[in-house]
């Protein structure tokens, strides 16, 4: 990006209108020298054939192919994914990928349960009789898991089982409590809150759920800014032109993700890693 801009500036510089009247040999030599110095300044070994371009600050952007092939997957090293059935789908999707490819989402671990709620996750202790997380066959809370694991990064995706978009105020309070408590039990953990994935068209037959979902994600992003934690907009890349979950990304029930949808989600997180890398928020 910057490289292209700099290249575009060069012709203007070397045909400066002000110099036309003084086109002597000395001026030509000076121009040639300046050009050589400029080119030397631009040259970085190995850069000529590198498909990456210059980006924000001193950091080099990766190509979309490199990102999707996992060039920045160290972002997920020592990470913990916490969530409900959607994250549980990702967990089940990840293990065979790791067996086939050797590495997938680095060594990230998963703490998730079907029907797990944001409210339960915000509590210090597991709730008797409710769906909690399990560790070694025993119920445990997310905060207990975070305290035990001290993950480098925590990816949270919760709220669908609390009907969060329908009762945003409460859900945002629970998110705020969860963030505060994670900071308390594991101060060095980088918290990444993920947007709720978009809804399918089939779930919006009686009522258009898109505005509710979008408004909640917007409020969630604002909360993350206030709380100083990262927000990953995984919703937008999963949407079709009308803002619904892309049909290819939806499972049969319209609420969960297909294998293709899970991969699109992973790639959305990889792109988020890239954005944060370019903005100097982490180093691979």
């Amino acid at each position: 990006m910057h490289g292209e801009k700099r290249t575009a500036i060069m012709p203007t510089m070397f045909t400066c209108r002000g110099c036309h009247g003084f086109d002597s040999a000395r001026v030509r030599h000076t121009r040639a020298l300046l050009a050589a110095v400029f080119l030397l300044m631009m040259y970085v070994p190995g850069q000529a054939s590198d498909p990456r371009s210059w980006a924000v600050g001193e950091r080099q952007a990766y190509t979309p192919e490199e990102i999707q092939q996992g060039a920045l997957d160290s972002y997920f090293t020592d990470a913990l994914f916490a969530g409900d059935s959607v994250t549980n789908q990702l967990r089940r999707y990840t293990y065979p990928q790791r067996k086939q490819e050797g590495a997938f989402l680095s060594d990230a671990q998963f703490q998730c349960a079907v029907n797990y709620s944001l409210y339960t996750a915000s509590l210090y202790k597991p709730q008797p009789g409710k769906v909690n997380l399990i560790y070694k066959g025993q119920d445990q809370s997310l905060l207990q898991a975070v305290r035990r694991l001290q993950p480098a990064r925590l990816f949270v995706l919760l709220g669908a089982n609390d009907y969060a978009p329908q009762r945003a105020e409460k859900a945002l309070d629970w998110y705020k409590t969860l963030i505060t408590r994670v900071k308390e039990v594991s101060p060095d953990t980088d918290i990444v809150v993920q947007a709720l994935p978009p809804v399918s068209r089939s779930l919006s037959s009686k009522q258009d759920m898109r505005p509710l979902w979008d408004a909640f994600n917007q409020q969630l992003q604002e909360l993350c800014q206030q709380e100083g934690v990262a927000f990953a907009d995984i919703a937008t890349p999963l949407k079709d032109d009308e803002g619904y979950l892309q049909p290819a990304y939806a499972s049969k029930d319209g609420l969960h993700l297909s294998a293709q949808g899970l991969l699109a989600w992973v790639n959305a997180l990889r792109n988020n890693a890239h954005e944060r890398y370019l903005h100097d928020q982490w180093t691979p």
Binding site: Q89, R91, R92, A113, Y135, G137
Partner: protein, 155 residues
């Protein structure tokens, strides 16, 4: 050598042969073969094999408790089908494995009870059994076929 002595020597030889060849002892069935038999008996969904870490961290079954395992669960997290077969190191370990699997089954029921009723119904019919050091958890809409194939494979 008298005929009495000869008979006694023959008996001793026979006894020694029985002891040395382990005749009368039942060798535990090879679990991959058992799993293959179950796979052909019922149509299981695409399954993923659970490794020792997952069995330990998630279900709480430590690898010191068993000598052999075949644990498979549906790749789709919203499908409860699972076949978990263990050859425990001894009877006590078999009891521990059975207890952990029972807790795990209860946990899965809690997850599905108010969420996916048809999956909850499959869990309600799940079979957990212990036959000596063999422990099995069978979860499938075709659990009867699995049980039948399992009995045939382990006996």
């Amino acid at each position: 050598m008298t005929s009495g002595r000869r008979n006694r020597a023959l008996c001793a030889l026979l006894l020694m042969l029985v002891v040395l060849t382990g005749c009368g002892q039942k060798t535990p069935p090879a679990l991959p073969d058992v799993y293959a038999a179950l796979e052909s008996a019922a149509s299981l969904p695409p399954m993923t094999m659970l490794d020792a870490d997952e069995l330990s961290d998630y279900i709480g079954i430590d690898d010191t408790l068993y000598s052999s395992v075949q644990a498979h669960a549906a790749q789709d997290a919203l499908v409860v089908d699972a076949v978990m077969l263990f050859t425990a190191r001894d009877e006590k370990s078999a009891q521990s494995i059975e207890a952990q699997l029972s807790d795990y089954l209860d946990y899965r029921k809690r997850e599905m009870r108010d969420y996916l009723p048809e999956q909850y119904a499959v869990l309600e019919r799940a079979v957990l059994r212990r036959d000596g050091v063999q422990v099995a958890l069978l979860i499938s809409p075709q659990v009867d076929a699995l049980v039948q194939a399992y009995e045939k494979a382990i006996h």
